[in-house]
């Protein structure tokens, strides 16, 4: 998603159920979406298979 693509942001906002926020607080929705788009590159994977899995464990066998 382009951080400045207002039409794309509107589609995502409406898909998230934010029709009222889009109508009444469009600048806030745009600012929120653009801030996320700007941050996204910081977390890119380097080596998908080698990096650790997210945490999940079960309790020990009773």
């Amino acid at each position: 998603m382009s951080g400045t693509d207002e039409a794309a942001i509107e589609v995502l906002a409406r898909a998230a159920g934010l029709d009222q926020a889009w109508a009444e607080f469009r600048e806030d929705v745009l600012a929120a979406a653009r801030s996320v788009a700007a941050q996204r590159p910081a977390l890119a994977l380097v080596e998908p298979a080698a990096e650790p899995w997210p945490p999940m464990r079960v309790a020990g066998k009773p």
């Binding site: 998603m1 942001i9 995502l12 906002a13 998230a16 159920g17 934010l18 029709d19 009222q20 926020a21 009444e24 607080f25 806030d28 929705v29 600012a31 929120a32 979406a33 801030s35 996320v36 788009a37 941050q39 996204r40 910081a42 977390l43 890119a44 994977l45 990096e51 650790p52 899995w53 997210p54 945490p55």
Partner: protein
């Protein structure tokens, strides 16, 4: 006793036990001070004078009858207003929750009541513990006693401001991205984010499930230790809660730092987010002082501070969205603008973002644990800048993210912020100590050593001294 409002909770507890001080008289002194000073500071959202007087009378009767409950019996305490106190609204400083009266106490509040503490009221926060300082909310933001035109840090802002102004000797705060340690840094008090899971969060309005912590705030390290000893404990109804037997033995705080291996995380404030010169100089002063007391100082390297911040942001925004989405869809107008913007961001995080952040988190935990195989405690910056004016929105926006607290929300290690000095403008500077999981004892021991050496915790905001 003179100056009851500056007396530590530890000393008040002794005086109450021996009946040198009456809980009713102590509360009356605090209420007088609150009534006189809080209109300037806005530390309280809701003062519960009537409930506090009833609790103080009960404490007086019980102590007189020989039923002393322990060192908090009769001691006043303030509660951040995202934590439930039965019979009082938990507003979260928001229009969204104005009429939300708690039916039961949060687990930590129940522990305080059992200990005989006197709950004086509910304290200002940022909206839902993330949107502030803001002027478009149903209550004004708290102010910094060191300079009331300045922000007191947040989101446990009323807790920090009230402690620094002598409105109560103890407070509870919560910390998801630094919200106990930020006001501790800005207001020159002591704030401890315990190990994730050590203190129950049942009855506390969540911000982000895997980052939220409840912890003690106080004016002295001994008082923070005392409060932690009351609120810690396994709670089967908090899914993050864990049992720990690593209690803090009574002489811990007096042991000093001789022989302790202190890892100095210089890159956080020297290269990752270059700190204000006064902040950096004060950190070097702390490091040198600990060495002079016999600690062994090693420079250590953790992942880049900006990477920690990115992970914290994705986790926080994603989890907070899961909590707030229904209200953001149906009543976005009831949020202040800051909270609305920050919470809406979660709608644009993807499953991929969240899972990547969790994977990064795992590597970060491993990296911090690896360093803890070489050292006993970490010394890092807390805030990179002294507090700024509360109405200076551009400076607030620039400086608020400039901090080194989020790494230990991401990893869950215990971390304490306290005063490292005063800026040329008379505003608190800060330092952070971080320990291994469940080793709050070493964090508090190091903080107690710096408290004795530095002497800063005894300083009072001049206008409120």
């Amino acid at each position: 006793m003179s100056d009851l409002h500056w007396t530590s909770a530890t000393d008040l507890g002794d005086a109450l036990r021996t009946r040198a001080v009456s809980p009713v008289d102590l509360l009356a002194a605090q209420l007088e001070r609150i009534g006189r000073l809080d209109p300037t500071l806005n530390a309280f959202i809701r003062l519960d004078a009537e409930g506090a007087r009833a609790a103080a009378r009960t404490a007086e009767r019980e102590i007189a009858a020989g039923h002393w409950r322990g060192p908090l019996h009769g001691v006043p305490i303030g509660i951040k207003d995202i934590i439930d106190v039965a019979g009082l609204p938990t507003t979260c400083h928001s229009r969204v929750r104005l009429d939300n009266v708690a039916e039961t106490d949060a687990a930590v509040v129940a522990q305080l009541r059992t200990a005989g503490a006197v709950i004086v009221g509910k304290l200002s926060t940022h909206e839902f513990a993330l949107g502030g300082p803001s002027f478009d909310l149903p209550f004004p933001p708290a102010r910094n006693p060191w300079n009331p035109t300045h922000h007191p840090g947040g989101s446990s802002s009323g807790s920090g401001a009230g402690l620094a102004a002598g409105l109560f000797p103890l407070a509870l705060g919560t910390d998801t991205g630094g919200s106990i340690r930020n006001p501790a840094s800005a207001c020159g008090i002591v704030g401890l984010k315990p190990t994730y899971g050590l203190v129950s969060r049942r009855g506390v309005f969540p911000l982000a499930y895997t980052l939220d912590h409840v912890g003690p705030m106080a004016r002295t390290v001994a008082d923070a230790t005392l409060l932690l000893s009351i609120i810690r404990g396994r709670d089967p109804k908090d899914p993050g809660s864990v049992a720990s037997t690593d209690d803090i033995v009574p002489d811990t705080l007096a042991r000093g730092v001789r022989g302790l291996r202190v890892g100095y995380v210089r890159h956080f404030h020297e290269t990752d987010m270059p700190a204000d010169a006064e902040v950096a100089a004060a950190l070097d002063t702390v490091a040198a002082a600990l060495v002079a007391e016999g600690a062994e100082l090693r420079t250590v390297t953790l992942p880049d501070l900006n990477a920690f911040s990115s992970v914290n942001r994705v986790l926080l925004q994603s989890e907070a969205w899961a909590i707030h989405a229904p209200w953001l869809r149906s009543r976005p107008q009831d949020y202040g603008q800051l909270a609305r913007r920050r919470l809406l961001a979660g709608a644009f995080q993807t499953a991929e973002d969240y899972i990547l952040a969790q994977r990064r988190r795992t590597t970060m935990i491993d990296a911090v644990d690896a360093v803890f195989r070489e050292v006993d405690v970490l010394l890092t910056a807390s805030a990179m800048d002294p507090p700024c004016r509360i109405d200076d929105e551009p400076t607030l926006s620039r400086t608020y993210p400039r901090q080194a607290r989020t790494p230990f929300n991401v990893t869950g290690h215990p971390a304490l912020a306290m005063m490292s000095g005063l800026s040329a403008d008379g505003l608190p500077l800060s330092v952070q100590f971080v320990g291994r999981y469940f080793d709050e004892a070493t964090v508090l021991r190091t903080a107690a050593a710096w408290e004795r050496i530095g002497g800063w915790q005894a300083r009072r905001p001049p206008a409120f001294a």
